[in-house]
Amino acid sequence: MWHNLARLFKYRGLIQSLVARELKARYRGSALGIFWSFGNPLLLLLIYSAVFKYFVPAKDNTVQPYSLFLFCGLLPWTWFASSLNESTGSLIAGGNLIKKVLFPAEVLPIVSVVANMVHFLLGLPILGLFLAYFAYADVPPAADGAPAITGVALHAAELVWLPVVILVQLILTTGIALALSALTVHFRDVRDILTNVLTFWFFATPIIYPIASVPQLKQWLDLNPFTHLAVSYQEILFHPQNAFGHVYWLLALGAASCVVFLAGYWLFDRLRDSFAEVV
């Protein structure tokens, strides 16, 4: 297993080009191309803004503007959910490679995760733009007329944690993706189970509601690893004025994610030999 893990490092070039291929192939033939990676989150955010401003004004005043709060959790969730959805089918979709080419199978689910991470990363600047805009707009100008930039400045101090959150999510997602993709080869049911589990999981994570609004459920939500990712994103991006208090939870989750990754990889490695025959 350790040997295979080391070999995985050697395949980074392959992963890189497959991710590039995935992204290229996705936008090939569309007139706007890679713009959609920015355009999709932008349009989604505009729609949410309109919906929660005019159609269903959010009742919870603790998180305003609500659409931005929602987006801070939704963007990473989309990365997480689509990674898992795509990677579960990746070994079956890539069956031709596994059966006909000597090919390190773990590359396939990893490519799904990384390709979705790229989409996530491309969505971040859009979110950042909106956050910056609201930070300016919400704080009344100081007496001497200089723009108040305190909100954004605090932002910068906490932003150093953002890569850590992303890294933790990457490790966690990859671990789960490896395990699920390997299991799907044997049980196609995993895909359908996953779809439903993800729906439940989404609502069991404080994405559409702030965790503070459900104190009675907090101990349950704490058991959900994605809670801590979502709360971390929200604290870093949306509540810059508070100190990043969730950092210990995040570090604990980081350690747990490494365990999940190793467990996922172990499972994958054990089942590896059966892929070419069962796929």
Binding site: L14, L18, N96, F187, S274, E277
Partner: protein, 440 residues
Amino acid sequence: MAAAIELVNVTKVYRRYGSHHFATLKSALMQRSILQDLKPSETFHALTDVSISVPAGSTFGVIGRNGSGKSTALKLVAGITKPTSGTVSVKGRISALIELGAGFHPEISGRENVFINGIMLGLTKREIEKRFDEIVEFAELRDFIDEPVKAYSSGMYMRLGFSVAIHVDPEVLLVDEVLAVGDEGFTHKCLDKFADFKRRGKTVLLVTHSLGLVERLCDEAVWLDGGRKQIEGDPKRVVDAYIARVAQQEENFLASEDVKALQEQPAQPPTGLDAPVLASDPTEDVTMAAEGRWGSRLVEIAQVGLLDAKGHAAHVFYSGDPMRLHMRIRTQEPVDDFVFGVGIFNAEGVCVYGTNTDIEEFEPQSLSGDAEVFVAFEALDLIEGTYKLDVAVHKRDGVPYDYHRLLHTFRIKSRTKDVGVYRPRHRWDFTGSVSIKPRP
């Protein structure tokens, strides 16, 4: 010479698809053999105790029928699957031409696919850049390399896949029945490339149904049947043994077909076919060449057999062999108006030859009880293929006693793949300033 590829007592057992997912997943996780949990009825032996040693620098052929384990052997050598027991060892970088362009993505250009495919096959980006022009040139795709692969014809697709795989420059090249990828010209280029490989001392493992290729290219060959090694060694010897076995099997198959044909219920003659087919021009009725048997059965052809030179029953003959057709006749009541006829049809339904005793001016006198009729063909100068026989006994005006339409089959085998319906005996002579010699 050291062995480049070595299989020692290799057995590969596949699991049949059933409902035993849980058991197999458990065993996979425990890293036990999957097969321990399975009954023999749930497994399939693709290879049984096969040992093959391919010397470095040689070209080695693997032949056998479909399902004989050839491709399994290749996958084991490629490392795609692991043997159930035994060991497989390979020295040097492998490139496997098992499925061409297996990793191509249809939406992106040929250029990008070359890079990704090359990386998949173990090249670095720089190595591919260096060979890129050569790859494209070899695939004859210079004008299309920036088109998305989905726009390629299947030939272009295969050529590009082949070109990338062969430019990986492996120590060991595994080839699975992929030489049929292009037109004549491209096939020749591929063969040249193999020859080039050979010259540079690389090892080639070639799985193919093309026996001629094995004889021409390979230094050694092995014949697998039912997952077991039958014979290994000089390609000519291996191929001959294989052909002999195939002929034997066809023989058995055709013999069983004959038995079936005679047991069938008599068919009604096609309307308008009361006319004596063999008495007139037999080719007229080719359009109605439905199999069947009809007639009054006053005189019956009870048995039809084909005999080879030694007088043994046979169904497979080599072109130029003698053949004797044998009919056992049973008569209900004595008759004095009878004609025996025979016709040979090829697979397209073309009458290759037809004759009867009336055409050849025999005068029937009397026929009663049992009789036997022999037609001796001195030499079957026919091209390779499957032939069907009409045999009949009928009155001179054509009213049939017993007519067997295309019920009996035999095969002609030939080393020469010439074409036509008939092979006139011939010989090539050359004089003057021409230099030409038979291929070894």
